[in-house]
Structure formats: C-alpha cells, structure tokens
C-alpha cells in the first residue's frame, strides 16, 4: 500500500481488496472442510438485458486481465485482514501465496452478448476462482453498461464524431474506465486527461463559460483563446447572446474559425440559426459542436440538424438509464473431490424465485442465417454441433495463470463495430424491444463433464 500515506482517493495498488468479505470466509471454511481445492468452473452471464435493450456489449475484459494479474495479498493487506480477524492464520498463509493459476475463457472484448451468454468462464480450484468474483463483476458490470450506451449513441450519431465528456458526472476513476468503454462503443475522443494518459484515447477540449466570464468582454475572451490556440479552435458561443457571440467569433477568428460550441437552449433551433449565420458570415467551413445533456434519443433527433459533432456527458457515464449490467458470477460445475482427475459435476441453484441458472460448463456460438446475419445465440453444455464449430464465441484469455488475451483498444473498438454490423438491422432501433436474436440452449449429456 505504498501510496496510502498520500491519502489519495486511489490507494489500493493491488486489486485483492476489491473483494467481498464472504469470498475470504468461504475460502477459510472450504480449507477447513477440505473442499477448497476441488476443481471448479465459474461463469459470468446475465439473466436478462436492461429493459428494452436489444443487445449487450462486452467491455472491461482487458481491465479484468490486469486485475487478475495484480490480485496479490501483500503485507499491508494481510495485516489488515489479521487485525480485523476476518480470516484465520491458515487462510492468511494461503492468501500470501495467492496467484491465479487457472484458465479464463471469454467473449472477446467488444463482442455483443445476449441473455445467458457465458461472457467469461473461470476455471481452477474453488479457492483461486471464488476470490475473483467481485473484482471481475465490478469491472464487467460497469464497463459493459457504459459501452452499451455508447454503442447506441454511436449508432444514432452515424458518421458524426462523439466526444466523451462525462468525467464530472461519475467517480473520478470510473470516469477513466467509462472513457475506455465509450471508445469501444464507438466514441472518437474524450475530455478526460487520465483516460488519454492511461489508455491512449485521443483527448480534446478548449474552454468553458468560466473563461468568457473571466474576461471583461466576450471579445477579449475569444481573442485570448485564438491567440493561444489558433483559429482552428472551438469557441463557446452561448455565455451571453448566441447571435452576437457568433458575429464576434467570426470577426475575431475570421472565416477560418474551426468550430463553435452550443451548450444550452433548443439545440435543433439554435444549430439551424447558427449555421445560417455562419454561412452568411462566410464561415462555411466552421463546424458546430453541441453538448447539452445529450442521450441517444437527442442525438437521433438532431440527425437532420446542421450539427457536426456531439459531446456527451451524464447520459454516457450513467449508461443512459442503465448504469450497471446485471452480470452474475456463478459456480456451474465442480469436482466431487480434490483429486486432479475427478470429473466435473454440473451444479446450479434451484430454489424458486427467479434466480435459477443453468448448470454445466458452457460453450456459445452465434448462428448466422443464409445472408450471414446473426439469427441466434446458441449455448450448450455438451458436444458442439458440427455446423457451429467455426462460430464459437469463447476465446482463451488466461492460460495456466498467464494472460494470453491482451489486445490493443483499437482492435476491440473495431471488433465491436463489426459485431454490431452483423446483427439484424433492428438492433439499431432505439425504441424498446426484445433482444434482437433469441438465446437457444442445446442440452448436453447430463452428468459429469470433462475436457474442454
């Protein structure tokens, strides 16, 4: 905990404490009972999409790989657990040596998903897998929720670029992950410098109302900004009177002015007026950026307006009404003893109440129709039907504890665009509906499972 002295909001250099206490107490009880080393399979899936959404977007996988790699109990953490009496000494000894040595398979990041899709499959001993529940779910539930909203917004925006500006509306580190997820979902850039630093996402930004208000006259502010950033900058024109500001902006910058930003008012109306005024002033190449409380519906409603780019904040980082995905991490199979060769037995909660799940280690494939368009998410626990062998969705991410699935963010972004393009066209409709393709289960042999 090297940075703890600094009283930073971030002071957990290991990811091991992003963990619910019950994971450690279960480990302690399983160690004592001799069941901790039973081979186990956990799967991440969601029972349903957020109400009305037509597809989900897998995001956060790359961050999960980082988190698993850095899941380590150092002396400070062990001291905390000891002092609080959270687990006993044999458990602390086990934690001190903790390294994930199992296998993780999953949907590649950026892929779309549907109810029941086995988005991540974690295999190893119960002891090593059970501890990863919370950190894996935190990352996937947050990032996938943001990416899903971003994907809808980018579908609505078409070719016009989207700028992520939501940092101020969410936790300061959630904001960095949100920028990453937004980029995967199709955004082009972010205002958040930490996201640029951490993930290499292009960053943008020019000025706020405060900059205009700081100066004695709006003209002084515009002149100062042009002097500093050149004529290609974006001037904010709605601090006082928009029409006057646009006139002043073009007087100061000339027709080479890069863009104006409108952050309030009836954007449809104002954008038309500003475009007309800019054209009359000869600033035909000056672009219009709008940034006021946009969501995918507002973006769609501006499709016919003379708008060149959208800045999106609140609704992006809050998942446009669905700030979290409802993914769960469930034990689906485990061995009947700690022997290395003991066969896996499918398991599942089966009490009434709507939280039942399907036991057994699963594969998943996306079946295509004759035109190559997705027509079903097929999930099974037995042998893979021959016609689906080359449509398998799960890829190796961690192999014997070693991360093998890391990839550049741009590849993830491209994958999402391709996966979405492969869905039926109605996936793009913003109105509420059912998942755009159904989930089908192929029942495997009941009983034990072996092999991959």
């Amino acid at each position: 905990m090297g940075t703890a002295d600094l009283k930073l909001p971030v002071d957990v250099p290991s990811t091991a404490l992003f963990t619910d206490q019950y994971e450690l107490t279960m480990l302690q009880a399983a160690l004592k009972a001799g069941t901790a080393d039973r081979r186990s399979v956990f799967e991440v899936f969601t029972r349903r999409l957020p109400h009305g959404r037509r597809y989900g977007v897998v995001a956060g996988t790359g961050r999960v790989l980082d988190a698993v790699e850095n899941f380590r109990f150092d002396e400070d953490v062990l001291g905390f657990l000891r002092e609080r009496g959270i687990v006993d000494e044999p458990t602390l000894e086990r934690l001190a040596d903790y390294r994930f040595t199992g296998d993780i398979w999953g949907y590649p990041e950026g892929e779309v998903y549907f109810p029941g899709s086995p988005i991540l499959r974690v295999e190893g001993t119960f002891a090593e897998c059970v501890l990863l529940e919370t950190v894996i779910l935190s990352i996937l539930n947050h990032d996938s929720a943001i990416a899903a909203a971003a994907s809808r917004m980018s579908a609505a925006a078409g070719d016009r670029p989207l700028i992520e500006m939501g940092a101020r509306r969410t936790h300061e580190l959630a904001a960095v992950a949100a920028s990453r997820a937004a980029y995967i979902g199709g955004f082009s850039s972010t205002s958040d410098l930490a996201a640029g630093f951490r993930y290499g996402i292009p960053t943008v930004g020019t000025s706020a109302h405060a900059f205009t208000l700081l100066h004695d006259h709006e003209r002084d502010a515009f002149q100062a900004q042009i002097d500093s950033m050149g004529r290609g900058t974006t001037l904010l024109v709605d601090t006082y009177d928009v029409a006057e500001a646009v006139r002043t902006a073009v007087e100061v910058a000339g027709p080479e002015l890069g863009a104006v930003r409108i952050d309030s008012g009836d954007l449809l109306l104002v954008a038309h007026r500003v475009r007309h005024q800019l054209d009359e002033l000869g600033a035909t190449g000056t672009r219009i950026l709008v940034t006021s409380d946009l969501d995918e519906y507002a973006i769609a409603s501006l499709a016919a307006a003379p708008v060149d780019a959208y800045g999106v904040g609140t609704q992006l980082v809050t998942g446009s009404g669905h700030p979290t995905a409802s993914m769960v991490y469930k034990l689906v199979a485990r061995a009947g003893s700690a022997d290395a060769g003991a066969p896996l037995v499918p398991v599942a909660k089966r009490s009434t109440g709507g939280k039942t799940s399907v036991g057994g280690r699963k594969w998943a494939a996306r079946r295509l129709d004759a035109d190559g368009v997705a027509e079903a998410e097929v999930i099974g626990t037995g042998p893979v039907p021959a016609e689906l062998t080359d449509r398998q969705l799960l890829v190796p991410l961690v192999n014997g504890g070693e991360v093998v699935g890391r990839e550049p963010l741009d590849a993830v972004r491209d994958r999402h665009a391709a996966a979405r393009a492969n869905l039926p066209l109605s996936a793009m409709q913003l109105s509420r509906g059912e998942p755009v393709i159904p989930t089908e289960y192929v029942t495997g042999r009941p009983g034990s499972q072996t092999g991959a």
Copy 2:
C-alpha cells in the same frame, strides 16, 4: 506514475489528470492574456434535485480535500502533456509548480442541501481554481448521489441495520467511495474489504450459493461454515429448498444459529414462513437477513415483516434511479485585474436556455421555525441578516492551501442523521415531491464584493 508498470486499473497516484482538457487550455490562454491571476470565486451548486427527491446529501467533501492536496503535476504527467502537445511550455512550467494556495469553504459533509445551495466555494487565482473543476465535481456528484439514496434507505429501514453489498455492481473504486457514502447516509457496514481497509468501515460477509454448491450436500456446506465461523454465523438458505435448508441449519447449528439469509423469492412471504419455522424449531434468537434487489421502497414494504437486517447492492451504488447529482462548478465572481486588491465583480452566464445562474460570492443559512425545524434555505450575496448569523452553513475547509476541514467519518455520519432529523417530517416520505424546504434568495448590493 510509479504503479503504471503494473498495469493496474488504478495507476494515477496524483489527482491532477482527473481533469478535463479544457481546464488546461483555458489556463494557457489566460496566462497568455494576462488574466490567469485574477482573483476568482467558483461555487459548486445544483440547479435542481433529482426528480421527486426532497433533499440532497453532501458527501465526498473529505475525498475532495484529499484530491486537492494531491493535485500535483509530476514528471510523467508533464511528459504526457508535452508529448501530446496539449499545452505549451510556459503552461507546463506553471503546472510543474502547481499547489492550491487558496481557500475553500463548504457545507460540512453529511449536511443536507437544496437547489441553489452553495455546497462548495473555491477562492484563489483563476489559474489555481479552474483546474479543480472536474475532480471536485466527479467526487461530489458521485458520492452525494449515493449518500442521498442511502439516506432514504436508512429512513425506510428505521432501526434495522443496512449492509452495503453493491461493489460488484459498480466500478471497483467507485464501490469504495460508494461504501463510504452509504455509511454517511446511515448504513452500518459493507461487504467491500477495500472500504474497510481505506475508511475503517465495518466489514461483514459469510457465504454465497457457490459455497453450498461446492459441497456434495447442503448439510456438508452448513457444517463446514459452522466449523469455520461458529454458530453465530449467517447461513444462506435459498440454494435449494428454503424450508429444508432452515431445518438443516438449525439441526447443524442448534438454536444458537446467528442468522439466516434469504436472497430470492417473495421476501415478505418467505420471511414470515422462515420466522415461523425458526420459532417452531426453538431458534427464536436467530435473525433473518434479506438481500435481493432491495431499494428504499422494498425496504419500506418489509417494515412489518420479521426481518432483522437488509443487504443492499445495485440500487445503492446506482443511486436508486439517480446515479449522479447534477452539481456544477461555476465562476461567480472575479477581479477586474490581477492586482491583489482589485475588487470582485459578480459574473454569471445569462443566455437563454435554462442554464443561467446567480452571480456573486454567496453565503447560505438554514432558517428554522419556532419549533426549531428547518423552514427555508436562505442564500445571499450581500450582508447576512442578523437573525441568520448563527445559522450559517459554510465552514472553512482549506485555508491558504492548508486543509483545515478534515474530520472522522463517524462525525460526518452523525451530522447527517442530525441534519435529516431537523427537516420537516415530510422529508422522510419516499413518494415523489418538491424539495422539503424552499430556497430563498436575499439579494445583496449589486456590484463589487469584498471581504468574507
């Protein structure tokens, strides 16, 4: 950026990059224009409460103080800004020396707030204040949204304890802040070990369905948990058949069993049945914990049920429908020159479109009725009326760059309980309504402002 090599999800040891790029470009332009050192006052406030909410809860102030103290541009950060060409060399030099040397006043953490309340007031040069916008808003918007939901839930729960279990439903570090905010709002404990480590919040947790499923029989799992954690533990009884599980639980643990947890089904019905069964089995002291998708309404609906404690996850960390507060950070006054003695001039955006604000540095007071119950939030820019001098809400938090407002989390939690208790009783109603007290503005002298 010492931890960057580790590829951690957290690798920003300074808070300086939790910043929107436009804050740096404004600084550059103001430096060039000679306006960067004009004395300036920024205020944090919200134009409205989330729809139907009756009061807001200030949370995150303690984290803001940490963030301001650690707002530093080290070599890695400066190198990033240089390499990306985000600002020029004179600006980088200024950033290298950045320390906040101004004053911050604010509502004490845990206090309630209303539309227009000047929750935080940041004073200093434009240069030093403008850079703090994003990190301050990120923290206050997130934490206050969670605390407001927590406060409603704790009002609904009455004397029954609330456990925060939402880590898996939000970003892994947002979860830590959410636990802190929940504690302020009245929660008793958290499942999140990082929140226990970082903020000393009591942590709890016993077992999940996976632990029962790991074992060959439910009885084996219960026995293993009792062997490990003692009879006072909480057994999860809804993996298979609840009635059978309760019977088994009492057989294994005896009537000294601490508690059972129900995580699915019709909680009202099941809680009654389980209570009846426990009593029949002689386990009259065994408590019932319920934990399935609860929000303040579900908690209230269980008021007459034999439930002893609530665990709340998703709805807590997502702000129960309002995952972010809508606080903004606005320049409200600034000097007309960089001279130390130059008087402050009130400023405000005034274009049409609903985003106008009230200029001038503000004080705030809560006026009480004859019974000592809050009756109005009074906000002014001029002299404080004599009858309100001892009801002033803003307290010093940072004085000349030095943090003076740090306090223990329990004091904050107590303050919130007291502040809420001082509101009209209708503040506690869960149904939608207007802010429970009105905001009144006392207009000060127009023109310049001096003094505190």
